[in-house]
Symmetry: C2
Subunit: 207 residues, 2 copies
Amino acid sequence: MAPPLSRPGRVAKLPPRERILDAAEELFQREGIRQVGVQAIADRAETTKMAIYRHFETKDALVAEWLRIVAADYQAAFDRVETEHPDRPEEQILGLARFIADGLSAISYRGCPFINSLAELPDRLHPARQVIEDHKAHQIRRLIGMCAEAQMPDPEQAAAEITFVLEGAQVSTQNGSIDQTGDRLMRIIEGIVDRHRSHLGAYRAAD
Amino acid sequence: MAPPLSRPGRVAKLPPRERILDAAEELFQREGIRQVGVQAIADRAETTKMAIYRHFETKDALVAEWLRIVAADYQAAFDRVETEHPDRPEEQILGLARFIADGLSAISYRGCPFINSLAELPDRLHPARQVIEDHKAHQIRRLIGMCAEAQMPDPEQAAAEITFVLEGAQVSTQNGSIDQTGDRLMRIIEGIVDRHRSHLGAYRAAD
DNA sequence: TCCGAATGATACCCACCGGTATCGAAGGAG
DNA sequence: CTCCTTCGATACCGGTGGGTATCATTCGGA
């Protein structure tokens, strides 16, 4: 059952399913979901359309699987900052911000996969939409947890603020109108954390 | 030359070009650019595909024209808050935020046209991309101006912060994971303005 | 009244897309 | 060696997309 991970002849060629997912990730991110045809994915994965439909029910299922992988990457970032800064929630939040800020230049010119997919898949019944929704809910819940641990008086508001800024930064990288986005983003997040943590903000906190 | 604006028979029917643009606005916003075919626009405009191609070179040109209209709406909002609160730049910024916050429920489930179009049109040579880029540049410039007038020590940073938050809020309305988005948005913007205006922020300002 | 531009309606072209059917080659397991 | 699964390749199908050609109709202006 386990495919050969060693010397499959010339170059180490991954099994088809992996190659398909790699190709899909690359193409979906760069060209957009609807722009990329199944044939193009097959070509780039050095396989055939038929092989794709042997591993995935439909193109939509492939899209959903791709987003599931991307979501796992984000979750891994959450895990990493938590283990790197145990019991230091402010540091965890800043670590997340740096993760996004560092990724900005990498995904420049082509924004966040989730935001883009949301725009490209208006049908709320699309299988990928469920993946996105779950991921966003999970993410905001974890972020609220961090804010609460940091003794912020209104963790929901703080988490919402951070979420808005992170997503806005990812959107704004797509057009060149705003430069130094990464640095600006870090300074903004630092300001938010400082304000919510120390002087309890300008508005009434719930308890 | 001027088309009849009165009693064209039964219901007041606008000239075809207007009906086409109205239909395109509605459908592009709700279903997405690529999802909507030219035939669907013609049907909804109660005209024919042929008529569309008599008024617009290509579908892409129609998309660009649509975004030009949307951009004009946003500019009108800028104009309005400026005339409503002359020499009160903080009020102007809050007015803009309220404009976005009020629009949130209206565009709920289907985000900002510019952000969506950015995701749907990865080709940077698409005619609509130029429209978006110009609009964003113009908007950020105007926002920086307001921040400068409000005596904020780092107007570029403040404008970037506000931009991120506004765009992030529009993105986050698309999935229901964050509720009370409008109220949260207003409180966040108030906090930003307060911080940048009064106590000069936590970071060193560039003189 | 007459003319010409703008409009409406239909049929058509070609390319591409998602998805399926079929067949042969390969390749590991018993 | 043989069997059975996986993989590769090609051809095909129905539907739809953007865009064009053609012709009849309407209607305002001179």
